[in-house]
Amino acid sequence: MRYFLGRTLHAVFLLFGVSLLTFLFSALTPGNYFDEMRLNPQISRETVAALRAQYQLDRPLPVRYAHWLNAVAHGELGFSFAYNSPVGPLLWVRARNTLLLTITATLLAWLLALPLGVWSASRFGRPPDRVLSWTTATLLVIPDLVLALGLLILAVRTGWFPTGGLASVGFENLSPLHKLRDLASHLALPVAALVLTTLPMLLRHVRASVAEVLDAPFLRAAVGHGIPHSKLLYGYALRAAANPLISLFGFSVGTLLSGSLLVEVVMSWPGLGPLLLEAILARDLYVVIGGVLLSMIFLVSGNLFADVLLYWSDPRIRIAASAK
């Protein structure tokens, strides 16, 4: 238990640091959301000053930070200037869409990476493994921006997939089955882009860690005992190779909110990515800070999640932790 307490404390410190860092950056900002108004002759100087005072932009930084921390403690994340509404609900709607996209993509990537990686490792150095290695190497040199744009062009030219948004016009009137199909067709493109960018890295890690284990004496002994091949691979080798993969899985979970930013913008998926970009362009300060913090919370809890999984799956870590 002490172990988790320590990890959680560490995580909280990290979050605190990030929020402080983003606030510090914001202090260095020349200009703010209301500067544009100042140029507008229709809006009086007093109005701008009043707005600034209303949002406390005229207060010194430590006071603002304290106010913001207080708001966070009360479950709010500040106020969006552009949307004229609290940041929390604004982010939540978008985060839900992002999660729908990334959870699908992450699940798919892992479901593909595990069997393919194990299969590739069991044929290490032979033609099928080499073909797979070449494929992953090729995918690895295609940056996500290039891949996403390429897929988009493909979709537009073939007309197979819709090229943006989350649902078609008139989505509400569809039957449940058609709703599902409509959603799936909208998901297909961004999910494909995400899977193709994450899969090579996952595949390489699975392959490397399983191949390392397959060389171990205990597995060769198991082969000698005549244990069936598939049981050997999935029951023994994968289990023994699990540790680095669990950490990686934790990382995957952690990037659920942040990994798809660019793909969302490129494919106009109504998630956090476009919102954040708009907020940056409009200098909508608290939306940016809120978005960064939200994704950080995910990242940190992803790592925590991996720690818990490791603790649960590996007796060596349990013993080492309780011995402390």
């Binding site: 990290l14 640091g17 990030v18 860092l21 983003t22 950056f25 914001s26 260095l28 900002t29 020349p30 200009g31 690895l140 040199v141 295609i142 940056p143 996500d144 921006l145 290039v146 744009l149 390429g150 988009l152 062009i153 537009v156 030219r157 090229t163 960018t197 994450t198 890295m201 890690h205 990382f251 990037t255 942040s258 990994g259 930013l261 660019l262 913008v265 954040l276 970009l277 907020a279 940056i280 362009l281 200098r283 940016v288 978005g291 960064v292 994704s295 950080m296 990242l299 940190v300």
Partner: protein, 351 residues
């Protein structure tokens, strides 16, 4: 293939690629900002050796495009008006590497303009823009990597050499920066810097933002090397002879970190080129009319361009050979240094 040969092969490939971009003025037929408003969105043209009557010509030529009858955006070749290509001809002025004024171009034409990779909305030559855009993107990547490695080496050496609370503080900060996904960090940093600036300012800003994002990983690696090196005999001997800290760091410890820094450079440069592309693509980086690989792609955000003008995607493919060569170089360097685990150095966070 043996390791030195592998290393040489990737190095040669990289040098060739960089030369092509550095010599953009020579390889590109036109000035990258020169407009031809009568010919927006021309598709890529084909260079012929055989004419319509199946006669062979030793001098390559092309057919200018004209609008197909009854359409407003479909082009066809005009077989009556073949225009020959000239090699090593004089054209638009440029300065090679920024200081050698020249007018010499690898190829060009008299009369009709040739668009090997098509033209954009203002009738600017895509090929020229890709080559010149590469200068901006690559330079941003290289300088950004330079800033990052400088910061990383400085912080890593300070943390590793002095140890104690300084080490703790710096490494906690590094953890913070490692935990943040880099695109978010890039966004966050960029969010708090001015938006509308001159091209040169924008460039410096992009370099600075990119450079400040990635220092944590090299710093950690350098710290690891410094920790082991500072206990080695030759360093202790030098200290015994009364060498000052600064001298020790510069003369004995910094050289030992060279292989780590080199490998990191090979990993960071393509990442940072991509970072510049991403920023400019999203409108947070280089402004028009200066070309960069990122803002060349920005027009793809319009649906009409996406549907009709596929050649606007070509700038995206320009980065792929660079990625390949840098990745190959990085893995060859890693194999050579051997001592450091590949994962620790190359596991880039998937944005």
């Amino acid at each position: 293939m043996t390791l030195p040969r592998k290393l040489t092969r990737w190095l040669v490939a990289l040098v060739a690629l960089h030369c092509a971009v550095a010599g953009a003025g020579f390889f590109a037929p036109y000035d990258p900002v020169e407009q031809d408003r009568d010919h927006p969105y021309l598709p890529p043209m084909r260079v012929h050796l055989m004419d319509a009557q199946h006669h062979f010509h030793s001098r390559p030529f092309f057919y200018p495009l004209r609008l197909r009858e009854g359409s407003f955006d479909q082009y066809e070749e005009d077989p009556a008006a073949a225009v020959p290509l000239h090699f090593f001809m004089r054209g638009a002025g440029y300065s090679l590497l920024g200081f050698l004024p020249s007018r010499l171009h690898l190829f060009g034409t008299d009369g009709a303009r040739i668009y090997l990779l098509g033209s954009d909305a203002y009738g600017r030559d895509q090929l020229s823009r890709i080559l010149f855009g590469g200068q901006v993107s690559l330079l941003a990547g290289l300088l950004g990597a330079g800033v990052t490695l400088f910061l990383g080496a400085l912080i890593g050496m300070a943390a590793g050499y002095y140890g104690g609370w300084r080490d703790d503080l710096l490494m906690r900060a590094a953890e913070l920066f490692l935990a943040l996904p880099w695109l978010y960090l890039l966004f966050a940093l960029r969010a708090f810097l001015p938006l509308s600036v001159s091209p040169l300012e924008a460039f410096l800003l992009v370099v600075l933002v990119i450079g400040m994002v990635g220092w944590a990983r090299p710093a950690r690696l350098v710290r690891g090397v410094v920790l082991s090196v500072k206990e080695r005999d030759f360093v202790r001997a030098a200290r015994g002879f009364g060498a000052a800290d600064m001298y020790l760091l510069r003369r004995h410890i910094l050289p030992e970190t060279a292989s780590v820094l080199l490998t990191q450079a090979a990993i960071l440069v393509p990442q940072f080129v991509l970072a510049e592309m991403t920023l400019s693509f999203l409108g947070l980086g280089m402004p028009e009319p200066t070309a960069s690989w990122g803002n060349l792609l920005a027009s793809l955000q319009q649906y009409s361009v996406l549907v009709s003008y596929w050649w606007m995607y070509l700038p995206a493919l320009a980065i792929v050979p660079f990625f390949l060569a840098y990745l190959g170089l990085a893995s060859a360097l890693q194999q050579r240094s051997g001592a450091y685990k590949i994962d620790e150095q190359s596991s880039w966070s998937p944005t």
